[in-house]
């Protein structure tokens, strides 16, 4: 094989691989049904990751959210939306919410 043809061949191979992964991923997600029973029982509509909003995991079911513009009575806590962190872990935020004085001990 001529060395000049190596890059084009690799290009075809890599492009085919990407498309194959994508088709596999599409099929996997379309057929996905794990945890459905659990999620139905717990009934929280969120997933276990932080969001941009101060309500941490469940922004919508506890506060009105500004980007939705459904404002009447809408409120947010003190800090501006955090981009790279979970706001509840930020000291100043915790200071503004009375009662956040928890600890845990292994029994």
């Amino acid at each position: 094989m001529r060395s000049a043809s190596l890059l084009p061949l690799l290009t075809l191979l890599l492009t085919a691989s990407v498309l194959a992964i994508s088709i596999h991923s599409e099929a996997e997600w379309h057929g996905r049904d794990y945890d459905r029973a659990l999620r139905q029982v717990v009934a929280l509509p969120s997933i276990a990751v932080g969001t941009n909003y101060e309500g941490t995991r469940n922004p919508l079911i506890e506060v009105f959210v500004r980007p939705l513009y459904d404002i009447p009575g809408g409120y947010d806590y003190v800090l501006a939306s955090s981009f790279i962190d979970t706001p509840m872990r930020i000291g100043e935020f915790r200071d503004t919410v009375p009662g956040f004085n928890y600890t845990a001990i292994k029994g």
């Binding site: 001529r2 000049a4 043809s5 890059l7 084009p8 690799l10 290009t11 890599l14 492009t15 691989s17 990407v18 498309l19 992964i21 994508s22 088709i23 596999h24 991923s25 599409e26 996905r32 794990y34 945890d35 459905r36 029973a37 659990l38 999620r39 139905q40 029982v41 717990v42 009934a43 929280l44 509509p45 969120s46 997933i47 276990a48 990751v49 932080g50 969001t51 941009n52 995991r57 919508l60 506890e62 506060v63 959210v65 980007p67 939705l68 009575g73 409120y75 981009f83 790279i84 979970t86 509840m88 872990r89 009662g99 956040f100 004085n101 928890y102 845990a104 001990i105 292994k106 029994g107």
Partner: protein, 396 residues
């Protein structure tokens, strides 16, 4: 005719080898850009899909109590009012909130015993122990997520003590630990019986956090929700609203990154353009020579087009593969904080990764097309110049 195109192809491939520096610069810069954007897009879409699953599994309607425009605990007397609305199949009460352990915040959910349905296979989401039963009401038994188990180093059979808002020590007994596979939903969850949660949050008698309303499958949840307009002081959330909100939340994180990435892409396109211009000086002579030998302007553009397509698809495909492996198998170190906002993750936590065809084609479009423009345009400008003049200018 075919032979001509094959020869042009061979010539293009030779050019890729001949202009090694240009090939390397374009490959490396586009590779970096594609790897970054694909890692973010694939993870963001995975998170959005997971959120969609959760919203789809959530109650058709969530009813909350509003006072002065703010959400407050709702009286259980609303259960009968809402259950009496035509189209409502079932109303379950729920008490939930946040608990802090050290510097971290976890979600405590108290489940209505009437909603515990073992026939639906909840047990399969557990790594060890069992799920809650109606008999666990008031016993202090809890099921915890893997993150909490990992952090406190507890297992089934251990006790933990949580200090509540009212500064009371509450002892709980771990009866189950969720599995790694469900971590995306359960990592930060502490599930307990309804009465235990009410006690933990010092909820006044007869009050709960919100109500989960399940609508008759034959009815439209939105129209059932509209029948609740006349009920005082309530706020009704349907699945569509929740879905839009969560997509906005996760999309915003990926969106900010995408904005930064767009700036990077412009810079990279400028580098490619600059490389095309620098090499253009050398290739001007070559183009003049080719035209003297009988190459047409279209032939020269075809050569450059093939070069750019090969380079663009190679860099974009390799970048996407690296982005996929970086996210799916290495949990995207560095990016995971931006996307998840977590300081650390359970050992076996896997970022949800969704490589949609739409994302793949979008990435090809935003990388290959700018590359084509920034390399083919200078080639066209060279190709339309008089060959003798082009060679004289290049030699000067």
């Amino acid at each position: 005719m075919l032979r001509k195109h094959r020869n042009l192809l061979d010539y293009s491939f030779d050019c890729l080898r001949r202009y090694r520096m240009r090939t390397a610069v374009i490959l490396v810069t586009f590779l970096v850009a594609t790897t970054m954007i694909s890692a973010v897009l694939f993870a963001k879409e995975g998170l959005e899909r997971e959120a969609e699953f959760s919203v789809e599994a959530a109650p058709d309607l969530t009813v909350q109590y509003l006072k002065g425009g703010r959400v407050e605990p709702i009286n259980t007397s609303y259960i009968d009012i809402i259950a009496g609305i035509p189209g409502v199949e079932k109303v379950l009460k729920r008490t939930w909130g946040y608990a802090g352990i050290g510097a971290y915040t976890f979600v405590v959910v108290g489940l209505d015993p009437e909603g515990l349905d073992h026939s639906r296979g909840v047990i399969t989401s557990l790594e060890e122990g069992r799920f809650l039963k109606p008999e666990d009401e008031g016993t202090g038994n809890i099921v915890i997520g893997k993150l909490i188990a990992y952090m406190l180093k507890v297992k089934v059979g251990d006790d933990i003590i949580l200090l509540s808002e009212s500064v009371e020590a509450n002892k709980f007994h771990v009866v189950g630990v969720f599995s790694d596979s469900s971590s995306i939903y359960t990592a930060d969850l502490i599930l307990m019986s309804f009465s235990d949660a009410n006690k933990f949050f010092s909820m006044p008698e007869g009050m709960v956090t919100d109500l989960c309303v399940y609508v008759d499958p034959a009815e439209d949840p939105a129209s059932v929700a509209s029948k609740m307009n006349s009920v005082s002081n309530i706020r009704v959330l349907d699945q569509d609203l929740l879905l839009r909100g969560y997509k906005a939340a996760y999309g915003a994180r990926g969106g900010i990154f995408t904005t930064l990435w767009t700036i990077l892409l412009v810079a990279i396109a400028m580098i490619a353009f600059s490389q095309a211009i620098v090499v253009g000086h050398e290739s001007k002579f070559e183009v003049g020579l080719l035209k003297t030998f009988g190459f047409s302007t279209l032939d020269i553009i075809e050569v450059r087009l093939v070069e750019s397509l090969v380079l663009g698809f190679f860099a974009a495909s390799l970048g996407m593969l690296i982005g996929y492996f970086y996210t799916a198998f290495f949990n995207a170190p560095g990016l995971v904080d931006i996307l998840l906002g977590w300081a650390y993750l359970p050992r076996e936590f896997r970022l949800p990764v969704y490589v949609s065809l739409q994302s793949v084609f979008s990435i090809y479009a935003v990388t290959v097309i700018p590359l084509l423009i920034t390399t083919v345009v200078p080639a066209w400008l060279n190709a339309i110049t008089d060959p003798e003049l082009a060679m004289r200018r290049a030699a000067a």
